[in-house]
Amino acid sequence: MKKFLTILIFILIPVKSFGLIEVDITRGNLNPLPIAVSPLSIDEESRKNFQNILKKKNIGSEISLIVENNLKVSGLFNPLNKDAFLQEPDIANLKPRFEDWNLIKAQALITGKVTYVEEKLRVEFRLWDVLAGKEMMALAFTTVPNNWRRVGHIITDKVYERLTGEKGYFDTRIIYVAEEGPKTQRVKKLAIMDQDGANNKFLTLGNELVLTPRFNPTSQLVTYLSYFRNLPRVYLLDIETGTQEVVGDFPGMTFAPRFSPDGKKIIMSFAKDGNSEIYTMDLENRIVEKITNHPSIDTSPSYSPDGKFISFNSDRSGYQQIYVMKSDGSNVKRISFGKGIYGTPVWSPRGDLIAFTKLHKGKFYIGVMRTDGSGERLLTENFYQEAPSWSPNGRVLIFYRETKTDSKGKGFSAKLWSIDLTGYNERQVPTPTDGSDPSWSSLLSN
């Protein structure tokens, strides 16, 4: 994990801001931008060196495949078939023959070069506007060879940012709960993977039930619920060192943990005598504060990105609804007033929206509303789905969905799904086992 810090990025040529191609991500994109991702060129000696180290025949092609897949899955781009490319990768990177790329209807082109420099992987890449015949961006990085997948994600982030005007979300990871076994006796493990499903790792063995892992936005810490020794408690796990500890000393179940935006506090629920209240614990001085005080179920707290407000769900009106309060617990206001039950509010990293789960007439929805409850928009409807988590740029939501079993109780599955804020581009996120409770990390590099 420390290796992440060793990636150096520098700009080869200052980025000029011409009025070149742009991708609008505020609407459902039915015409994804045709883009050609030329395989990154590589000299024979570098190729052999990387083949030895990484067991990949051509690391330049492998990296470009990651970029291509990311762009495709984003729904905003249409990577063109490489068989149609007329120009060789090395020559294209020096000076693309724009007429050739224009001929296959590419509007943008990515080229690049990989070299082996002092046991490191050096990558440079360029983004070209084919119609204008101009270079839009050129960057180079050097990192340890094992980071090659991340290089692909960082290239995608840079291209996405240049073309959409917003930060990307590709050099990120997902922590989630991997599930196996029959529905009545599910075995659950914490698992972590890259956002594209690669590098899946299990972090617990499945000996105890684990639920709702969430990333710290600023570090390699994760908070989650574990039934270790049949005592459901909120835990803190350092995914670099593997050390874990119970959060606080509560005489009962603590659950529904999340970090504050500065990463210094954990906010969670504590259930006692049939009443769940929201508490915070400062991770530095261990001071515990009670935030809500009401004889109803108050849970699923989530901070606003500036840390000034907390959204949560409560059944104080009789049914689960979404409320917002100041972070000291004052000024509690109900914001959900539509038909149905509302839960799991999560504040967008952009601050303007709250994503939620809604149950109405036997269907579950993932939706968003403004932070005052206005402008409710439902993005997807299903038999069962819940627990949205935002991509760090606030453009995509990841959540999980469970299937209905048949009359014999068979056919259960739980899978991770993602959908754009626009309501378009709904996709299953690949996981080796069933999965639930996904949480999206911040960008690993910036």
Partner: protein, 159 residues
């Protein structure tokens, strides 16, 4: 799994049904619900002869029904007779709610049972509460009858 638990507890009494899934299908049409509270015996085990181990709840509710109170009075009488026994009340919810809310709801249901046992003379020292939310359904079906069986508080011997 079920069997080993029963053997371990030293009880081998009327077991309504060992193969739960088979049961769910064969008895599905008998309509063992009042409102949406389960009133059947499919999944019920017994702490002692005539002492059912669980009570059932309506959707989103933690209010004890008349039948639940009767069951808990039987449990209280049994606990008074067996004063060394300690118990865990395991509260559960059906799958039709968000995970976190269901954890709270399971805790609330188990505490409703605990409070009632306490009013019948059982010391809180002998009772612990554990919520499983929707994590441990007893019936894997996705239908109102299965859900009604899963909305429950189960009294489990702890020693």
């Amino acid at each position: 799994m079920k069997l080993s638990k029963i053997l371990k507890n030293g009880f081998l009494i009327v077991v309504a049904c060992l193969a739960l899934s088979a049961c769910a299908t064969s008895k599905k049409s008998t309509g063992q619900m009042q409102g949406d509270v389960y009133t059947g015996t499919d999944t019920v085990e017994y702490l002692a002869s005539g002492v059912p181990d669980r009570v059932f709840f309506a959707t989103n509710e933690s209010v004890l029904t008349t039948a639940s109170r009767e069951t808990l009075r039987k449990q209280a009488a049994w606990l008074r007779k067996n004063s060394k026994i300690t118990i865990v009340l395991e509260g559960h919810a059906d799958e039709r709610g968000t995970r976190e809310y269901n954890l709270a709801l399971g805790e609330r249901r188990a505490n409703a049972a605990k409070d009632y046992l306490m009013t019948y003379g059982i010391s809180s020292d002998r009772i612990s509460v554990l919520s499983y939310g929707k994590e441990r359904p007893v019936d894997s079906g996705s239908n109102p009858l299965a859900w009604s069986k899963n909305r429950r508080s189960v009294t489990v011997k702890a020693n």
